[in-house]
Symmetry: C2
Subunit: 239 residues, 2 copies
DNA sequence: GTAATAGTGTCTTTGAGACAGTATCTT
DNA sequence: AAGATACTGTCTCAAAGACACTATTAC
């Protein structure tokens, strides 16, 4: 290892050509019965004026990993920290960015509409787009593909976990979770199955409060602090 | 988009500091009742002499993505193309490589021992290490963590797919698949459950041949050409 | 024949799907 | 009381777990 000292003294990273590295996030939320993605209008070239994912370059001074980069960019746009953030994967190649060989680390996030709505309304270059309307937008680079990757991951994971809770406010009812799950999957699910899983997951506790969202008051629940997401060994909608 | 032309003429990637980008692979195989990982002795600094994952820098002339980089490096070491290769994720940060802020795209691969054994024997700086013996090796960077990520992904995926077939030769018996699965999971599984899945997957066809691996001859199977891996909606060993 | 591995039959168990039934709230 | 939503009970169904059983080969 002492050989390293010598080597590192002579090492100059800038001598080696290296790909352009960016970090982009697919941030989902639920609003008005629709699954929405946050898009940002590109203010500078390349592809100025097109819509794309929130993201950008790594700040090597500040960021201690690409998760930090993703969080920093998302917080700039939404004003809050997403309650779920996981790595989706990378896309790379010589042709996807006109500036040259590039690599993007894509992240995938969920947020409650209620939590960020006040802030996002003030940002004119960011917009929540329902997934069904994505076709109306000219998307930059391969961001359309990345969004499709994220969508399929979101739907897959919804089948074997209660991921949709991360798109709900801190306190919520069974009915809200069912609605969120159905919007994400695009089809109705059995309430009974959902509640069975809800109990079995051990992820939640009652607040004691109840909410009058419908005719009868519904109990309110919250995530137990510090409890990890539970993965089920069977899928919902397994046919 | 015409604004891009001007912009790109003036664009010089080397003006921006960028992280060190590498691609590393965790290549698994099965040998003598053990799950093994391919390790390579580092021939040059940093961390010369330590053992690490096969990998290296992207060749921006040749590689059309990090998958190509991973394949190129694996083929150099093993002489063959792995039958399974998927992206594991990235690790990044300022402290993991002494040369500075770095990012590694990690890939995860499976190969049949029989297919690469002749070649690997001739390469003195590469070695198959049974996972139980990883503790005996001083591993470079955070390669130990990456191997653990790969191991848990491999085991997880083995629970809801027949991934272990990719660690078998082109023709194999039910018994070999069961053995492979049990080695990977580290515990016995029900042969009946495995065969039920095997049939249901639609991934395989009989060769017509049979092999005398044990007392009674066993039928030989192969993967149907062009058929994708089947994902089950329930896990094996769900307790 | 025996021993050993290959392969099948079938009962149990688990958890999702379906849906009827009861409870509680607003009007 | 009526109507709506919240919640429960319970039957069916699909696939895994368990394990006994039969089949084929080597010796």
């Amino acid at each position: 290892m002492t050989a390293d000292v010598d080597y590192l003294n002579r090492y100059d990273a800038s001598r080696f050509p290296s790909p352009l590295v960016t970090v982009d996030s697919v941030l989902f939320t639920l609003h008005q019965q629709s699954l929405c993605v946050l898009l940002v209008e590109r203010a500078a070239p390349p592809q100025q004026g097109l819509w794309g994912l929130p993201g950008g370059f790594i700040d090597m001074q500040q960021d201690d990993g690409t998760r930090a980069t993703a969080l920093r960019k998302l917080t700039e746009k939404t004003g809050i920290v997403p309650s779920w953030l996981e790595e989706l994967g990378t896309v790379s190649g010589p042709g996807r960015d006109p500036r040259g060989w590039s690599l993007t680390v894509a992240w995938f996030a969920l947020i409650a509409w209620e939590d960020c709505e006040p802030h996002i309304a003030t940002v004119s270059d960011a917009r929540w787009v329902p997934v069904e309307q994505l076709g109306d937008y000219a998307l930059a680079f391969d961001h359309g593909d990345i969004i499709q990757m994220a969508l399929s991951r979101l739907r897959q994971k919804t089948m074997y976990s209660l991921l949709p809770v991360y798109a709900l406010p801190a306190c919520f009812t069974h009915g809200q979770l069912q609605e969120a799950t159905e919007i994400i999957l695009g089809q109705p699910i059995q309430r009974k199955s959902l509640i069975r899983r809800f109990e079995a997951s051990g992820m939640f506790e009652e607040t004691g409060e109840s909410a009058a969202t419908g005719a009868r008051k519904a109990r309110l629940w919250r995530r137990k602090p510090g409890v990890d997401i539970h993965l089920f060994s069977r899928n919902l909608l397994a046919d």
